[in-house]
Amino acid sequence: MNSAAPYTLLPNPRLCAALIATIWMLGACATPPPAPATAPSRVEIDGQVGFTITEDAEVDIEVNSDYEQAISDLEMGRLEQGIARLESVAAGTSGLSAPRIDLGIAYHRVGDLDAAEKNLLLALDTNPEHPIAHNELGIIYRKTGRFAQARQSYEAALAIYPGFHFARRNLAVLCDIYLADLDCALANYQAYMKTVPDDDEATMWIADIENRLGR
């Protein structure tokens, strides 16, 4: 009879507790694997209605919660807090464009145009087919005097979805004021009005341009 066997097979309560604690701590401390470098994305166009962009990546529930909290901070005007939280989220989700786009918008709001541009370019590296990133980058380019690049950005957004009214209006304003291209401005204001027909301001702008063009 092997007298030692029962002893060695029986769990040592202290050792067992330590092991459980260690495993629990490892589990609690483990960070979820970051999303792949670039998550596969789909743009679904729905004719005259709009579009939906989906990036296929598993997102840890805590990361998603942090993201939502960051957006809440930003929307409540707690910009510094929201940016700090978003930076953390973006660092762990390099395959997703939304955190970078939102960082771009947030940095723009605090006046850090360099950081805004950097984040929007990172977003476009991840998903070159994101109209929001193109539109926001267009605004940054315009504000920094790079009008040709601004135009390219708005046009890139519109190439994905011609009815994206944010980019359409911004392209019209760019042509109107900064490029002095009134034909371009008129064409784009008119296209914009097809998506936002009750914009009284834009109606007035069109009338003014037609007057200046002698039409």
Binding site: G50, T52, E55, E68, I132, Y178, T195
Partner: protein
């Protein structure tokens, strides 16, 4: 900066009674300041030109404001004062018009690839003086708000709403049970899209 100093000196002169005397001094200052600023434009250095042109426009605008804010005579009756106000406004208006023209000339530097803080200031002034033409800001779509998806709907996009069907329109439930409970409406409705200008 020289342009700014010339401008500041000019703006310190206010129009007080006796009006003719202070007006003569202000007019002389106007001519001198415009000549100094015009000389800066002749350097043909983009940033200097933009700054000097900005201040030329502002000198005209200041003159317009100085007229409107000038001290009124105290010896006028009600009707005479009303006529005086009208006359002052008529005299001030061309200076504001000239200010707008000069600011617009400054804006033309954009087409030559000049974009600096002076052009931004000019644009800001034009947006204030002629908001219908120049107060046009870009619009942002706002935050994405969802970590791995984004749905955009045009403001005019039709949406599906389910309206209760009134009794009179109620079809035969046995033959068409779906229409008994719902009706598709494609009226244009508000579409929430993170800051979009919405339809009523």
């Amino acid at each position: 900066m020289l342009a700014e100093r010339s401008y500041q000196q000019h703006t310190r002169l206010v129009l007080v009674q006796p009006f003719e005397q202070s007006l003569a001094a202000k007019q002389q200052s106007l001519d001198t300041t415009l000549a100094e600023l015009g000389a800066l434009v002749e350097y043909e250095v983009a940033d200097v030109t933009a700054a000097a042109t900005f201040y030329i426009a502002e000198v005209y605008l200041d003159f317009s404001h100085a007229l409107l804010d000038s001290e009124r005579p105290t010896d006028l009756n009600e009707k005479e004062l009303a006529d005086y106000e009208l006359m002052i406004e008529e005299e001030a208006y061309p200076f504001e018009e000239r200010a707008i023209e000069v600011h617009e000339e400054n804006l033309e530097l954009l087409t030559a690839g000049v974009y600096n803080s002076w052009i931004e200031k000019t644009l800001s002034q034009l947006a204030s003086l002629m908001p219908g033409r120049y107060a046009k800001a870009e619009i942002s779509s706002g935050f994405v708000g969802s970590i791995n998806s984004y749905a955009y709907r045009m403001p005019i996009a039709p949406t599906i709403t389910i309206d209760p069907v009134d009794d009179e329109a109620k079809p035969d439930e046995a033959t068409n049970p779906i229409e008994v409970t719902a009706r598709i409406s494609t009226d244009a409705v508000l579409t929430a899209n993170h800051g979009a200008t919405e339809q009523p």
